[in-house]
């Protein structure tokens, strides 16, 4: 019974977050200076008579009080209608449907690869604490972290697309190429390789640093000493005793990052001409394309909330201490993830 109440309470929390986010998504773009006229009409819009400019603003409903506009937006949203982009001249849902798969195709593997590589290197560094390996890795990872993503991406382009033309400069997957054929998979992966590598490297440091410090903490525990004393193979000590316990903060980091992954690749998408959600949002901000912004922000909101929900649900799986119903430690359930 109390479990059901817990689920309902959680659902209520998410609902509240979603409602607040919807309002913010609607209000914030409208608070920015400037109107969307140029996005609707083009550069020459400035030369239209004021009456005509007002007429266009009226036609898209921006002359109404913001509450009325919000009501209309919610009404349409309830019918699954995200509106019509001022700047693209197309339905918002069409554009998002086109972009989202490509964003996911690039960003999810890159997020996983960052995490995997970061954890692997972090473990290695922690095990060899203060050795040359540790210091070398630390320097390398921090060095890569210090490079802005656009610089890293451009360098990869210069090296691997221009100097040694192994990969195309433009990662824009040509029209008609899908993942349904062997040729298509080849074509797509060839184009994704460099942005994937850039994003993977750019996202490495937090995982590396978190894993390293978390591992250092765990490796100092008595049970590690115990495990080694009883003759456990090193590999088993690292994997089963140390890493499993050290992974908890890493998984928190991963699920938090996952939500932001969708919008976080503006720079990389621009450098590699990859039409993803980040670039879409950036262009929409510049054009003051409110319907498009509301659409992409909605997707990001759902992603962040979804990733948090996922973290909440998977925590007990990762950490037995958090499983509900265990006697004596039930209070821990009430503690949300750090």
């Amino acid at each position: 019974m109390s479990a059901l109440r817990g689920v309902l309470a959680r659902a209520g929390q998410y609902g509240l977050v979603l409602a607040l986010a919807l309002m913010a998504n609607f209000a914030i773009p409208r608070l920015a200076p400037g109107d969307p006229l140029v996005g609707i009409v083009g550069e020459s819009g400035a030369l239209l008579p004021a009456a005509e400019q007002r007429a266009i603003i009226r036609r898209v409903g921006l002359d109404r009080p913001i509450v009325v506009q919000f009501g209309r937006y919610l009404g349409r949203l309830a019918h699954g209608d995200l509106g019509y982009s001022y700047n693209k001249g197309r339905p918002v849902s069409d554009v998002i449907r086109e972009r989202l798969p490509f964003t996911l195709l690039l960003l999810l593997p890159a997020a996983l690869a960052s995490a995997a590589l970061g954890v692997a290197l972090g473990v290695r560094a922690a095990w060899h604490r203060d050795s040359k390996t540790d210091i070398g890795l630390l320097g390398l990872v921090l060095g890569v972290e210090a490079l802005p993503a656009f610089f890293l991406g451009t360098m990869l382009l210069v090296l691997l697309a221009v100097r040694f033309p192994l990969f195309p400069v433009s990662s824009n997957i040509p029209p008609g190429v899908g993942l349904m054929t062997v040729h298509g998979v080849g074509e797509v992966s060839r184009r994704l390789a460099l942005p994937f590598a850039t994003l993977t490297l750019a996202g490495l440091a937090p995982y590396f640093l978190t894993t390293r410090s978390s591992m250092l903490g765990t490796l100092g525990e008595d049970y590690i000493l115990m495990a080694r004393a009883k003759g456990c193979p090193t590999r088993r000590v690292v994997r089963h005793h140390a890493l499993r316990n050290a992974l908890l903060p890493v998984s928190t980091l991963f699920s938090l990052n996952l939500g932001f992954v969708l919008g976080g690749a503006v720079v990389v998408e621009t450098v590699f001409s990859y039409p993803g959600m980040g670039r879409l949002t950036y262009d929409a901000v510049l054009a003051r394309d409110f319907p498009m912004l509301q659409g992409t922000f909605l997707v990001f909101t759902l992603a962040v909330v979804g990733a948090n929900a996922l973290a909440d649900m998977t925590y007990p799986l990762l950490d037995p201490r958090l499983r509900a119903g265990r006697r004596g430690i039930g209070h821990v359930v009430e503690e949300p993830a750090p």
Binding site: P33, A46, P49, I56, A113, S189
Partner: protein, 597 residues
């Protein structure tokens, strides 16, 4: 590609390995007579590229003219020539323009183009306001009359000297059968849907948003078969990536003007060339004359005297440009007033500021008025243009020498417009001291177009006069030149206009950037640089051709085609796998080693 590798000094064996790995084979090909495909990098979508949906002046309008035709057009020296019109005649009183159209011109959907379409287009731009085309006919064009399937007469309210330049050589003729049912021209609010339909040398056959447009040649084009069978416009938003794509052979030309520092570099790159020439596009520092002290002519003159426009060309443009003329008109333009030069004179600037009451200086050298108000201002620049921001900063260091302190604020388009009154609909107020402005090249073919930037601003007919400078003499001169049909008398009035601007200083014209367009001659050799404009122009594809390029380099005719995507894909997959598996492997190796210990 082979050239590219040599350039970087990699040994042939390594080069061969790379070629093998990437599956790209160097192809030495002689330049073909008719190019099968020209790939041009552009930065953004312009929707379906119709007269009412294109977004930018450059490259938006320029690409539009590959799909649509105007009654007149220009040759490579920017002289007007008949185009869709076979012939035209201006009546003695200047109030009637008779146009005879070419025979057998067809729309890209196969229907015949007739005089009805011409009348329809001009009626349409009078009825449905278009920011660029409607001001060219509003108050000028009384009626358009069809006198036969190939004859149209334009009846003007008054004689209008620039009528041939604009609208006739500017307004694209639109198909009546497509547009007559479109009564709402702006999305969302929908314009013409589907692909653009025009009479131009190219026909749009495919549009994939945010990826590319495919244009194929119209083989029956009335000016001759276009020299490239297909043009692909590829969307590459980042300018650095565009340059890299050009180097890697993924595109054959860039529609955008190159940054000055790249002109030399690309011109000497193997297989590439840069086509350069004068660009009429101007860059100016505009004063908000509604805000003191910019309401004082002498103050504006002092600011102008403190700016070294030649220094800007050298420092910011690295010499790839022409110093601004105070009369706004480019010195290569036939309408330029001979001898009109910007005066950089710091002594005079300081003397003027002393005289008009900014004698006192703070300890940091900044002048202040007798009331104690410091000469400290903000310059707005567009964050989308690094050159503009840099220019504003260099201008700031120049003004500092006259005791005027400035700070540069870079804003995005909409945010800047909100403060400069760019869009009269919601934001008519001017909230700035000085801002960086510019007029694109076509807006300066005829000095009459200066009315866009400098005629007195009114809410009913807003223009780009963001500083709200208003000079009755200038407005009268505009009126006089526009109705003066005698070229000599008209030139006298235009000279007078340039003097007024130079003395009354609504702005300081800083420079005109030269055009510099990166191309791959092996892919397409017929590029033509249209004076003052650039290379993305139908003259590059259909007009009588002259050898292209003002900067011929011994370009080895080498192209690289991505023929072996299969092998490239294998490499890609290997790299990806290596990255992902790297972690696991390290861990494993580590584990094994420790076990041995």
């Amino acid at each position: 590609m082979a050239g590219g590798i040599r350039r970087f000094g990699v040994r042939p064996a390594v080069a061969a390995c790379v070629a093998l790995l990437s599956g790209i084979t160097p192809i030495g090909s002689a330049a073909a007579q008719q190019s099968p495909l020209v790939r041009i990098a552009i930065t953004q979508n312009d929707k379906n590229w119709t007269p009412y949906t294109y977004q930018t002046g450059d490259p938006g309008y320029n690409v539009l003219t590959l799909l649509y035709d105007t009654l007149l057009w220009h040759d490579k020296d920017n002289n007007l020539i008949p185009w869709l019109a076979k012939d035209y005649k201006i009546s003695a009183d200047g109030r009637t323009v008779d146009v005879t159209l070419r025979d057998n011109v067809k729309w890209s959907d196969g229907q015949a183009m007739t005089a009805d379409d011409v009348k329809f287009t001009y009626d349409y731009i009078l009825e449905f306001n278009h920011g660029r085309f409607s001001p060219e006919v509003n108050g000028v064009l009384a009626s358009t009359v069809v006198n036969g399937p190939d004859k149209v007469s334009f009846n003007l309210k008054t004689p209008f000297a620039p009528f041939l330049t604009a609208p006739l050589a500017d307004v694209p003729i639109m198909p009546k059968h497509v547009w007559e049912n479109i009564r709402e021209v702006y999305p969302s609010v929908k314009g013409e849907q589907g692909l653009a339909i025009g009479t131009g040398p190219y026909k749009m056959v495919e549009y994939t948003p945010d990826k590319q447009y495919r244009l194929v040649a119209n083989p029956d084009y009335f000016m001759g078969k276009p020299a490239a069978a297909e043009i692909d416009l590829q969307i590459i938003p980042d300018s650095t990536a565009q340059v890299l794509a050009l180097r890697a052979g993924e595109v054959d030309a860039m529609a955008a003007n190159l940054a000055p520092e790249l002109v030399k570099e690309l011109a000497t790159a193997p297989g590439l060339n840069v086509l350069t020439g004068p660009g009429y596009t101007s860059s100016a520092l505009t004063f908000n004359v509604t805000r003191p002290p910019f309401d004082s002519v002498r103050f504006r003159q002092a600011v102008a005297n403190a700016i070294d426009v030649d220094g800007l060309v050298a420092q910011v443009l690295q010499g790839v440009g022409v110093a601004g003329s105070p009369g706004y008109v480019h010195p290569d333009n036939p309408f330029y007033k001979k001898g009109l030069r910007h005066e950089f004179n710091l002594v005079k600037a300081n003397a003027t500021l002393d005289e008009i009451g900014y004698r006192n200086k703070d300890s940091d050298g900044i002048r202040k008025s007798d009331a104690g108000k410091r000469l400290e201002f903000e310059i707005l620049a567009s964050s989308a243009s690094p050159i503009e921001v840099r220019t504003a900063e260099v201008v700031g260091t120049m003004l500092a020498k006259a005791g005027i302190k400035t700070s540069v604020t870079a804003l995005t388009g909409a945010a800047k417009a909100a403060r400069t009154g760019g869009f009269g609909g919601q934001t008519p107020d001017r909230d700035f001291d000085m801002q960086m402005t510019g007029l694109t090249a076509p807006a300066q073919d005829d000095p009459d177009r200066l009315r866009t930037a400098l005629e007195t601003w009114t809410p009913a007919a807003p223009n780009l006069n963001s500083g709200k400078w208003s000079n009755p003499q200038f407005d009268a001169a505009l009126q006089a030149e526009s109705t003066e049909l005698d070229p000599v008398k008209r030139m006298a009035v235009i000279n007078q206009m340039q003097d007024i601007i130079a003395n009354d200083r609504p702005n300081v014209v800083l420079y005109y950037r030269n055009g510099g367009y990166g191309v791959r001659p092996a892919a397409y050799a017929n590029w033509v640089y249209v004076r003052g404009k650039g290379i993305v122009d139908k003259v590059s594809f259909v007009a009588p051709q002259s050898p292209s390029g003002t900067n011929p380099t011994a370009a080895a005719p080498s192209t690289s085609k991505s023929g072996g995507s299969g092998r490239g894909a294998v490499v890609a997959v290997v790299v990806v796998l290596a990255l992902v598996a790297g972690g696991a492997l390290t861990l494993r190796a580590r584990g094994r080693r420790v076990e041995k210990e």
